[in-house]
Amino acid sequence: MPENDTLSTVPISLDGREVQASPGQLLIAAAEEAGVYIPRFCWHPRLRPVAMCRMCLVEVEGMRGLQPACYVPVKEGMEVRTQTPLVKKVQEGVLEFLLLNHPLDCPVCDRGGECPLQDHTMSFGPGESRFVEEKRHFEKPVPINNLVLLDRERCIQCARCTRFASDVAGDPLLEFASRGNDLQVTVFPDEPFSSYFSGNVVQICPVGALTSIPYRFKARPWDVTIAETTCGGCAVGCRGALSETRNRLIRFLGVDNDAVSWGWLCDKGRFAYEYVGSENRLTVPLFREETAAADAFSEVSWAEAVERIAEQIQEVKGAGGNIAAIGGARLTNEEAYSLSKFMRVVCGTNDVDCQLDDGLPADFVAGARNRAVINDFAKASVIVLAGPDLKEELPVLYLRVRDAVVNQGVPLFVIGPPQSGLTDFAKKVFDTPAAFDPVLLPIAGDVVLIVGRQSAAQDAEAQSTWALGLSEQLGERVKLLPILRRSNVHGAIDMGLSPSLLPGRVTVDDLEARERLAQVWEGEFPPDPGRDCREILDAAVEGKIDILFVVGADPLTDFPDPVMARRALERTSFVVVLDLFPSSATRFADVVLPAAGWGEVSGTVTNLEGRVQRVAAKVTAPGQAASDAQVFREIAEHLEVDFGCGTPEATLREIAQVAPAYQGVSLSRFRGKKGKEGVLVGEGRVAPRTSSPFEKDARPLGNGFRLHVGRAFWDRGTLVSECPSLSGLRPGPIVRVHPEDLAFAGITDGSSVRVLDEDPAGRLDLLRTVVADERVPLGTVSVPHNQDEPFVIRVGATVTLERID
């Protein structure tokens, strides 16, 4: 929806009362702001109005007949009556009409108890029907995809779902068919509503016609308690309401937040709550017995686990050994801060990294100046996207970019590899950053530059250097939005889970910050940057890391070189894994600690804009699983360090005190209307480094294809795998290639190929099914990440395809 830019308001008369409204604003919205609720079914504040349901008819002086309030814009001096006998009679008539074919099967309908049709019937309906004929019948319910069921008998044809599918999601796979008495919502036979946003139609359906399979028959609205929270699925930070019944999470609904998500959620965000209640959660601390066989863990008490880890730390520190930590992007800000503080104060090291060499340089992410927020998209004169496939990795960010481009007409330039979602809307697509010419940009106005890691095989430093160079070239009017993918990774970087950064977007050698920290932190840590993830694993392979904390991360899956990651874990004498689930990393752990996760821990998170938002705890963690922050604090206290940070609230107060960019962030700022949109953090004091820019011709001279490794929305990630409703949805082991390249190579669509690194030292050898895709640039082979066994990804790799006959 276009935002109303008109600042001035005009008086209108609403039921005889004078109220102020913005000219051009729809009457239904203006009335609601003035405290008058006009009943409606088809109107939704984030969808274009269609005036189909006729429920919002009101009297407007001087206009003939009754007017749909969702379709009439406010004009100065307008006289509107919403409560007259005529309006009430019409409301009764409309409801009687809408109920003609409605089955009234409320007792067995998921929507019962929270159904707009039910509620409106009680509030505005006639109470009885004159219709005695037989209602129309359809087969019920029919699946429209793997997550959503359609019951056409309940449908009142409001077109919310079809408008969402075509206008918001850009997946017009849900349509009205036939007309008159036969009008029905339908998908094409054998062509399901395969949208990453399908769950939204369930949420906006004003009746029970669309229900979600995971929630079906799970609870009644009066059986649940609800808390507002922030989705932890990716770094966008969509707001939502989490429902719980009998200590189980059963539903997650989007909550409208003008700054970020507009009430939408992607299906992963919406349905992934299932993993929280999975049977496979880690519930007790496990210790590897020295003499036992490889995977013989024995259960220990928390006290014993803490004691033994503390002893190890003391021993290693005494001997001058090395301690390091990787991961932490899953944590809340408070937990990440605790880990950051623990590593500095207790372990005396800067060897921490929340990225697994799959993102961007942390100093670029934390230090970029003149940053963009999502609401800048629609106001920009140009959006330049040099990042991953947003639809696959940051789905609701994709919706917001798509809205700016498709509905607001902002031109989009896409740089780089296939974009399943946005390539089709781009004004121009460039193969590589080197090929992009800023001269093509219109001269006037703001440029929003979205920068992310496009491929695991891409040189991240070259990418950030290019972005900094471009913004320097274009000057002040460039607003940068560095984007990373994983959950609270931006918050983790802000909390100092980076070898070169301290909490609050400052560098480890920042004297002022160190001074301030020294007042709160007791303990010494070096003023030089530590090792990043790759360097930590490198050192571990050489046997130079004595204790490695792996916090909510699986380097064997996510680090670009799983072979090296495995060797690193094998050669580290003491590996402590804190996680929700057993993973391939826990197999190499000496200690496995059960962590509490999303929905179980309260606190704050920071999204990719730098927007701090709250997360809520709605269920208690299973078994003995505990917040990571509690674990670090207990180990610290066992070593007689006065750690503080006893509660998330206390930790946030400490963050606000010591972290420059987080100054002034406090719980009180999340209250009220303004607080609903979170708190944007301030600028830090990090100067992003630059390195060698891109080679002019990124395409090597050999015959090989450039390797692109991007993320797919559905993958083998632990959290998705632990959701029964989602685990079967991934595309599987495929490789996407442009049809012309396939024709040239004599490979047919759908056949099997081997993908081999051209460099014999590259160790990449994959068996994949070929999918022809015109959106993949010529000369590129695109392999979705984490669909099958992990594989080695070399930066700048070129590969060959070998036909298997």
Binding site: D171, E175, R179, T186, V187
Partner: protein, 210 residues
């Protein structure tokens, strides 16, 4: 029809014609209706695979094609017989006994509304006003008009079509082939006959339409 359900419709000349049709519009998706006509002409009805082909040609989804195709009752989404018999049952024809005529036809051919006879020759449908009120009651066979019918004449007409073929029969008795005699000055001055006093008033009254 010589096409099988699985055959591609838009190939060779038909594909060329489709592309030529698409070029007539500034936005190629405007060619959706003409392409649906092409599909129905070629395949006998709007096939699922044909709708997919159109979706591919126009860069829209098959669901969007289906949404449009199913809106128009003259696009058939199911296979139909050799001839489509459309019986008008709107006001004028109904006053002249179209309901009885249609029910009689269905009974004679032992078939239901919107269904095809066992021999595959006729598919029957009831339609809204066929715009031939002056010749009520009327029906169309493959959109060719036959007017001034009654239940017996209609059966006889269809049997004739089945035996001799539509083109010959239409040539001989199609369209306005039995006009009523012009009104006498007396009748004109009397004004329109009261409802229910028409030629089929007996039947109409029995059927409760009086």
């Amino acid at each position: 029809m010589t096409l099988n359900a699985s055959d591609k419709v838009f190939v060779k000349e038909r594909l060329e014609r489709a592309r030529e049709i698409m070029l007539r519009y500034p936005d190629s998706r405007s060619a959706l209706l003409p392409l649906l006509h092409e599909l129905q002409d070629a395949a006998g009805y709007v096939t699922q695979s044909g709708m997919r082909e159109i979706a591919d040609l126009l860069g829209i989804t098959p669901a969007e094609v289906l949404g449009t195709a199913s809106f128009y009752t003259m696009f058939k989404l199911e296979p139909i017989g050799d001839h489509l018999v459309s019986v008008c049952t709107s006001l004028s024809c109904q006053l002249y006994g179209a309901d009885v005529l249609y029910r009689n036809l269905l009974a004679h051919f032992a078939v239901a509304n919107k269904k095809t006879t066992a021999d595959g020759v006729f598919t029957f449908e009831e339609v809204e006003c066929a715009a031939a009120c002056g010749g009520a009651p009327c029906l169309q066979i493959d959109y060719k008009y036959f007017e001034f019918l009654d239940p017996e004449k209609a059966v006889e007409l269809l049997e004739d079509v089945r035996n001799r073929g539509l083109s010959i029969v239409h040539e001989e008795r199609g369209s306005v082939n039995a006009p009523l005699p012009p009104l006498t000055p007396e009748e004109v001055s009397k004004g329109p006959a009261p409802v229910g006093s028409g030629p089929l008033s007996e039947t109409a009254r029995e059927e409760g339409h009086g």
